[in-house]
Amino acid sequence: MAITVTLPAVLAKLANDQRTHTADGATLGDVVETLAQRYPSLAPRLRDEAGKPYPFVVYYLNDEDVRLGDGFAATVADGDEVTLIPAIAGG
């Protein structure tokens, strides 16, 4: 199942300079792990050492913040869109 993952430019630098990626998996966690393995230098920016989401990177599955649902356990389906939003602080 192809899930589309959109990275912010700051993370795209660590993923072959590509903003949009496709990955397979049954859950959001699978998709994240697939990307982490594809781009080892991106991996520590996607999730912590235990494979859990960070409190300063928000994952949207379509238009919903997954933390208020099932988190990385959320099931994903063909055509779903995942958007990563990291905390940024510049002013």
Binding site: A9, V10, Y54, D65, G90, G91
Partner: protein, 398 residues
């Protein structure tokens, strides 16, 4: 929708010059004379008079917001002028608050500008924010953002949020009408080093203009009680692809700041409760330095080691375009992103001295090298900027 309510009868009147000045507002049904009087009565606090605070302040002053507060401890640096349009070349070296006040008074002498030349701290935040109707977060560190947010929640003030990084920005309106707060979106600040947050990362000069004017728009809408503010929505701006996207942000009942006790939220009752969040700037010193495993030397000490002919590997961990601007003689360019792999073949017992622009990336590089077994690691405090200031002024600053 909720707004900054004020009884119409108590609103200040407009003088003849103000009727003329604001005529294009008065022609709008959604503003009119009463709305303009609401703007005149309004008190808006800007946290930061930098990239975001500049356009925000300019438009709020021009629009006739009666009182504009500005918190900023910094002085104007030449490198600010590329985007901080409140300040001009003649202001370099002046306090940003003083420069901002002069500029705003020039645009609109009717505006009362209240300046706070200080860093926002847990000790002064509530006192400074208390007297304002709306808080605009244009700060440049996670520490100040979490502090601004928590203080806004404690005082029940709307927090008009904007943030920028390189070519991308975020904006939202927090803490209004039962909507989410900043902590509902980002629960905790990132640890040092994980999320780039330094001046070194760069920013397209016009980007804070885009985001700051959005913050000013949202503040005016809140004051006037018109339109649909960005409550419960996060606006994402990508200036490179010129794409605007909004995603839903929900209030999190377990949010430590604005959540409900019944859901384990609302545990921040005072700014002392999460003091650690207000000091954890992403540019802070990594743990290994604090623990003494990595040493720091001043540029003068490095110059002395070079002139003594000490044997060490000098590594510049900046990016190639920075190397082209200036670099130290005898150095080797190994950008941070390629470390530690690019140095994996180097003798681990060798003395390695690392430098970057300001002394933060070199510490991160040292940490990465320490993890693969290097033991004699030194970082140049203050980087090439301090080298320029203290050792060799012919090295250009950037």
């Amino acid at each position: 929708m909720t707004t900054i309510s004020s009884d119409a009868a108590t609103l200040p009147p407009l003088g003849r010059d103000e009727l003329l000045r604001y005529s294009r507002h008065l022609l709008l049904d959604q503003v009119g004379v009463e709305g303009q009087r609401r703007l005149k009565a309004a008190r808006v606090l800007l946290v930061g008079a930098g990239g975001l605070g500049s356009p925000t302040a300019l438009y709020l002053a021009a629009a006739g917001v009666g009182t504009i507060g500005i918190v900023d401890f910094d002085v104007v640096d030449a490198s600010n002028l590329q985007r901080q349009i409140l300040h001009g070349t003649a202001d370099v070296g002046r306090a940003k608050t003083a420069s901002a006040r002069d500029t705003l008074h020039d645009i609109n002498p009717n505006v009362h500008v209240q300046t706070f030349e200080t860093q926002l701290t847990p000790e002064n935040a509530l006192e400074i924010l208390r007297d304002f109707d709306i808080v605009i977060d244009g700060s440049d560190s996670f520490a100040t953002r979490f502090l601004t947010s928590d203080a806004s929640v404690l005082l029940g003030k709307p927090n008009v949020y904007g943030s920028i990084f390189r070519f991308e920005g975020q904006a939202s309106v927090f803490n209004v009408d039962g909507g989410p707060c900043y902590r509902c979106l980002f629960r905790e600040p990132p640890p040092p080093g994980l999320v780039p947050n330094c001046a070194e990362a760069g920013v397209l000069g016009v980007l804070p203009g885009l985001l700051g004017t959005i913050q000013a728009t949202e503040a005016l809408k809140l004051i006037l009680g018109i339109g649909e503010p960005l409550i419960g929505r996060l606006l994402l701006v990508d200036a490179l692809e010129m794409r605007f996207q909004t995603v839903t942000v929900r209030r999190d009942p377990s949010c430590p700041s604005c959540g409900d006790a019944v859901h384990g939220g609302g545990t921040i009752h005072s700014l002392a409760d999460r003091a650690q969040d207000y000091h954890a700037a992403a540019c802070d010193v990594p743990d290994a330095v604090a623990a003494g495993a990595i040493t720091e030397i001043t540029p003068a000490e490095l110059a002395a080691r070079i002139s003594r002919g000490d044997d060490f590997e000098l590594i510049d961990v900046r990016e190639p375009h920075e190397w082209e601007i200036a670099h130290l003689e005898g150095a080797r360019l190994v950008p941070l992103g390629t470390i530690p792999n690019a140095l994996a073949d180097l003798d681990r017992s060798r003395d390695v001295v690392l430098y970057c622009k300001g002394g933060v990336r070199s510490l991160r590089a040292a940490e990465a090298l320490q993890q693969i077994g290097f033991t004699r690691l030194t970082s140049v405090a203050g980087g090439i900027l301090r080298w320029s200031a203290e050792v060799d002024p012919t090295v250009p600053r950037y």
